[in-house]
């Protein structure tokens, strides 16, 4: 039977296992939303305040579940509003399909109302994108979009569908199964053997892992490898939650604001075993571990990441779970007592320094106390999301994560305003509670999504670390710009409690730990969104700090 292009889109989404779409209606997707209306018992539809929020929600949905997130927007501004959300997903390898409407094929290129070349615009921030001008190709193009999004290293794909393709009629037959990803590549045996030899002869091995462990579901293999080789582990920001934060072999995130112990261990190791990670400049600083004589084994599913940011002694392209599993059987069981002793020393130094840098000025709460108190109300199913800035780094350093996919943050792009949309998507996907740690700067960017959180009754506890400044930039100004605080003091007088109430949510302000405990108890008992506005000292810095031009010996651990 012939059905409309709009209906083909809806049926194909359902066929591909999509149970929720995020989006915003508009002129060139009226037909598509009309078909969604007929399918509202089969596919949940969440309309946000702004398309950017919808894109972040689809991203949060994908990160919380590993499934492909779907966002729908109209042509022109609807499509361009997705751009930040798509770029965020691209930089963090999040599987997403963005569907945009466009003007009819005959109008394309005429600068007609709300027309924009969204395929051209998103070419560098998608794994691939399509414009479908022939309804005969619509269903298969969408299927291919899902296939690309979830294959290998995941990422976003955009499908632009002109209005006349949505209204045209064509035969459609649903496939019985969602598309399966393209076959993975597997690490060659001789390279893994070489890796095992390098690991066996190392005295100070260190495992550096990233988000590939989460998307590749390789947490168990990673821990087994660390145990057998007696190697301490550190991660990138994207790797957080792959292993429990309190795992005895896990030293925490390394890098610019990483844990002292992991950054130092990475610098003192004689062998770096890098797994599902891309050596971002934020994780390594300006130097390579090889500068100090360490050797590097780099295993990743994306061959283009090998030797890209850092040259490796041994680079292996392949599925991380498979590679780790085979490595485990090849390596010898080892103990490195001297190295373990050194790691214990580093951890002890770190513990001292962590306490030194707290700030408990009158009527403010130290961020670590905020995180500790909030986490005491949460459980291992709680999903933690963040925005971008100091609060993000404190959360990354401090929050006791337990379970893969429980930490959702914008790493590569560093998108302020990411977290609320992501929390809405993660809650919609899992039915679980989320906590958003944010700052007054970041929250100001997309707080309009409070409206969505209220309409969806999203169980999200929004913890604003409110220091009245753009704290991360201020910290740079303190350290590197002679304390010239150009345009980072916000001078706002937003009352976040009233703001929450105005949106139909609940909220309160905390200026000491007792107030915070009381509010947190209320927030975690609340079914919908709850805003906790926490006063934080504007000079509380994120430490340690690896200056972007420096290496481990330049680590700043204290600001006078």
């Amino acid at each position: 039977m012939k059905i409309s292009g709009a209906k083909i889109v809806v049926e194909t989404l359902i066929e591909q296992g999509c149970d929720t779409v995020f989006g915003y209606p508009g002129g060139q997707v009226i037909d598509l939303f009309d078909e969604l209306y007929s399918a509202r018992d089969r596919i949940k539809q969440i309309i946000t305040a702004h398309e950017q929020g919808a894109a972040h929600a689809a991203d949060g949905y994908a990160r919380a579940t590993g499934k492909v997130g779907v966002v729908i927007a109209t042509s022109g501004p609807g499509a361009t509003n997705l751009v930040t959300g798509i770029a965020t997903a691209y930089l963090d390898s999040v599987p997403m399909v963005a569907v945009t409407g466009n003007v009819s094929c005959s109008m394309i290129g005429s600068d007609s109302f709300q027309e924009v070349d969204i395929v051209g615009i998103t070419m560098p921030i998608t794994k691939h994108n399509f414009i479908v001008k022939d309804i005969g190709e619509l269903a298969d193009t969408l299927r291919t979009a899902f296939k690309i999004a979830k294959s290998g290293r995941p990422g976003p794909v955009l499908v632009d569908i002109p209005k006349d393709v949505q209204t045209a009629l064509y035969e459609f037959e649903a496939n019985a199964q969602p598309v399966i990803p393209y076959p993975l590549s597997f690490a060659p045996e001789e390279k893994l053997k070489k890796a095992a030899d390098m690991i066996n002869s190392a005295e100070r091995p260190y495992i550096y892992f990233g988000g590939g462990i989460i998307s590749g579901k390789a947490s168990a293999q990673l821990l087994a490898l660390a145990d057998k080789t007696d190697a301490p582990m550190g991660s990138s920001l994207m790797g957080l939650s792959a292993v429990p934060s309190d795992h005895p072999k896990f030293l925490g995130m390394q890098g610019m604001h990483g844990h002292y112990a992991s950054t130092m261990a990475g610098a003192e190791a004689d062998l770096i075993i890098a797994l599902g990670v891309r050596f971002s400049n934020r994780a390594t600083g300006s130097s390579s571990p090889r500068d100090k004589g360490a050797r590097i084994i780099h295993i990743d599913i994306d061959g283009a990441e090998l030797h890209k940011n850092i040259a490796a002694d041994l680079a292996i392209k392949g599925d991380i779970t498979d590679a780790a599993e085979r490595l485990i059987s090849m390596v010898e069981e080892k103990k490195h007592p001297q190295w373990a002793e050194r790691i214990a020393e580093l951890r002890a130094e770190e513990a001292l320094r962590t306490e030194e840098n707290r700030r408990n000025a009158a009527d403010t709460i130290d961020p670590y106390d905020i995180i500790d108190i909030v986490s005491s109300f949460a459980d291992e199913n709680t999903i933690i999301t963040t925005d971008v800035g100091q609060h993000q780094m404190w959360t990354a350093q401090r929050y006791p994560l337990k379970r893969p996919r429980s930490f959702i943050t914008s790493g590569g792009l560093g998108t302020m305003g990411y977290g609320l949309g992501a929390a809405i998507g993660a809650c919609a996907a899992t039915g679980r509670r989320a906590v958003l740690f944010t700052g007054d700067g970041s929250f100001g960017m997309n707080l309009n999504e409070l409206a969505t959180a209220v309409s969806q009754n999203t169980p999200v506890v929004i913890v604003i670390m409110n220091n009245g400044v753009l704290g991360m930039v201020r910290q740079w100004q303190t350290l590197f710009f002679d304390r010239r605080y150009s345009n980072t003091t916000l001078g706002r007088s937003t009352d976040f409690t009233k703001l929450a109430v105005a949106f139909g949510a609940k909220g309160g302000r905390a200026e000491n730990t007792d107030q915070l405990k009381k509010l947190a108890a209320e927030a975690f008992a609340c079914e919908g969104p709850f805003v906790i506005d926490c006063a934080v000292d504007c000079d509380r810095a994120v430490l340690p700090m690896l200056p972007p031009w420096g290496s481990a010996e330049d680590l700043i651990t204290k600001i006078d």
Partner: protein, 166 residues
Amino acid sequence: MDQYVIGVIVANVSGVLSRVSGMFTRRGFNIDSLTVGETESSGFSRITIAFHGDDDIKERILQQLQKLHDVREVEVLDSKDTVIRELLLIKVRNRTEIRQDIMTAVEIFRSKIVDYSPTALVCELTGETSKIDAFIELLKPFGIMEMCRTGIVAIERGENCLKTVK
């Protein structure tokens, strides 16, 4: 820095040239020459790209190209085993006092005069880049009115082929 020539087989779909050239722009790789044309199979086009770089840059370009969905095959063409050609069309003034010199150059370079008018000559020349460059240098003193060159195309000697064209 060496010059590399790579052959790329791509799906013959709209936007594919933007994707390939955009990758070079976005990642900061410079293109010396890029040509695109049909292949023996209508579903595929062949892009020949020349660029300067070291071995590391070459590897990164290959890896990034292989990641593009529309790219089916990428191969570095070894200059020793590859026929590399470029086509030049060049227009010079047709003046009596220089005509004989131009004719001599055309003959030595095995160029062809493909248009002859009272005021202008158009010469055609095929060859490797260095030969084309030398010919242009030779004609410069006579007054080049305009010229265009195709950029290079390249194909391996012997029976080796850039595969996958089915």
